[in-house]
Amino acid sequence: MLFNRMERKLQRSAGAEYVKNSPPQGDDIRLGSDLTQNMINIRQYLHDTADFVNKEVLVCGQRVQLLTFEGMVSTANMTEALLEPLLSLRLENPTPQSLLWWMRNEAVLAPEQKEVYSLGELYKALMSGFVGVLIDGVDVAVIAGIQGFAYRSVSEPDSEVNVRGSREGLVEPIRTNMSLIRRRIKSSRLVFELTSAGSTSKTDLCLCYLANMVSPEILEDVRSRLARMDLDMILDSGYVQPFLDTNLSSLFSNVGVTERPDTVAAKISEGRVVVLVDGTPFALIVPYLFSENFQTLDDYAHRPYYASFIRIMKYVSFFFTILLPGAYVAIASFHPELFPEALLFNIAAAEETTPFPLMFEALIIHIIYEIMREAGLRLPRPIGHAVGIVGGLVIGDAAVTAGLIGAPMVMVVALTAISSFVVPSLYEPVTILRFLFIIVGGVSGLYGITLVLCIVFVNLCAINAYGVPATAPATPTKLFDLRDVLIRSSWKTLGRRTLRVQKLPGSEVGDKGGDI
């Protein structure tokens, strides 16, 4: 009993995960030729996890273990591609080496088939949906990609809806995403570079780029940033994004996010690097310019005049959503002479009966709106529509009737809210800026708003995404490159010269883009 107590004390003081009769630790442990010892090591290392499945079969008199994790492989494909050939195999000279030779050179167990020599490599492969084949007498495992785990099928992306564009969106498995991109860029220069990150999750990451377009400096910078990531678990692209962001002190990110493979293909063709993260349908794009938040694929499906109109409207909506409440508070509080007379009387009459100063009214109503928006996101769908009804009642009717807020403020909130959804990728900075402008407008009027705008502008202009100014090509300006910023020029103009992100004005990155 004393011994057990001492043992438990040792376990606690070690602070690490306790393993009875510690097996060889470390991913670099090589596989041995003794199948039994290999299996002991594997089971112990995996702590006898319930989802680990192994089956020993005799193939030409040789002991062979088939290893997999439950639910990770396609049972039907495994039977057809692996079990049946193995069990019906006849070798003239059946030895472990000849069996291995047959697997290497004659068998086609799966489109992706390779050999691994260490336990770490074997575990990673098994956890990625490979089947492992261990032969008694050889110190190598053959892995075959017969993935069959359940995943969401390719469907229309929820966050980026287009009218004319493709209805395909990225999905969780990284390999499927790679194929979606490959189908759109049938070029030999398209490179997928696989790596992994996360000391525990060992999540697959994939760098996608065109070898003849990408800047080697940008690519190297991305690689080194990913290598410096020191996280245990990577469950989403959001975990990786801050490590790729070159300016964390700015409100605006210079890493783009998309759920669309056609957008990924377009960005890759401009010399950018896209990072796919296994387990998430959101791809990361670097470098990402500010003007790209206002571009969608639909712009290129419409006629230039309409696409330009929509583009300009997006910019106007962006300024509306950040400035309208603050400007309304500022003008009504400090500069009422700026309103036309009729409007001024209406606003004054509406605000006369409300108990709160205009600034507090604006803050309260916008906070209520944010609460309801967040609740609407998290609520189950069947009762989600109730949020809309409550919102309409609470904000639209009850609050005004009760005299808590004025009717003009409801109009301002409504217009602001609708405008914010025109540019969804900027929702985070827009929300914070909106509150900031309300406070500043209520405290110091148009002077304060202008001063904060100065801070926001200079902060935005200071962002250099991987050596490329985030405000390019608007500033530093190059007229020809403005062909797809505020307006969308015709395809004749757009096609005249391929845009390469490292060649934008003000770029500190060399404009090399040759094969690397």
Partner: protein, 361 residues
Amino acid sequence: MTRNTIISSKQVVLLLVLFRVFDLLTFVPQIGGRQNGATVMLALPFSYLLLALILVPALLLLRGRREGNVVDCALALNPAAGKVLAALLFLFSVFAAADTVSNFEFLLTSAIYPETPSLFFVLTFTAVCLYGAFLGLEPVARVNTFVFVLFVGALVFISASVLPKSDFVYLKNPLQGGLSAVWGHALSAAFSNFDAVLFLLFAPNFKGSLSKCFWGWALLTVAMVEYLVMLLTVGLGDFAASQMFPFYSLAAFADLSIFQRLDSLHITLWTFIAFVKVSVYLYFASQCLGYLVPRRLKKTRLAATGILTAAGALVISSDLRFLTAVQKAMATGIPVAVLAVLIPFVLLLWSLIARRKERAR
């Protein structure tokens, strides 16, 4: 000198043009008697021709050493002389920044926020400009491009509302006061043009020809200012002479359909331009201070520059007599004559003599 921030020569031109426009948008001082608008318009191109002439020594000095400014040229000849020049330029930049902040505060407290104490505007504005200076010349230059486009848009808007109601009869004979009035104004404008010193400070921060950049600045400034003066003259007529802030008044009276009281547009624009101008002066002040204290103390240098600027602006704006005295001091032309003409001329001669001695050896 550490690696320079490089901006394009077009950005330099736009910066200098807007700085000149800022003075016009703020107020037209009563110094030296009121000239009629047409005389000012005639004198302006001559003032830039004169400026081109007086800047020749400085441009020749800098042409041979594009990666440095006048301080670097002086340091190469004599370290002590370089430090003295750096100190002078530091004081000049702080003075110019403080003057701009005080002008800015003066308009705000006189015309828009009469109840608000000056301290609030001076401190908040200086802090924001310090942030801009901290981020560097490049971001501020990029903001300036946006501001320039905004300015042109606003100008078109105001013009559309003012020009239909204008009376060109107010454009009087420019030679009404004689050639001496034109010449006098040209001389005064050239030597009170602080931006000439700033142009020399910009030299290592852009690639390309100094003279091309100068002529771009001169031409665009002349075009802009001529137009603004014409607009003021024909839009307000003799009423402009009685206004402390004529352009602000013009914007207040302008209306176009449902858009009235465009003075809010003026405030926004003018705040942006003031921000850019003060940020640039603070940046260069900090750079000049970097010749006198260790370069690595960037934040300390900026803080010191900001405190001095805010203090100077508070002193100047505390009394209208101080503001007038500052304007008079600028109008004497001594700062520009010393920093942009005399010192570069002396340095040029010195460097020529030094080079001759070197060759003789």
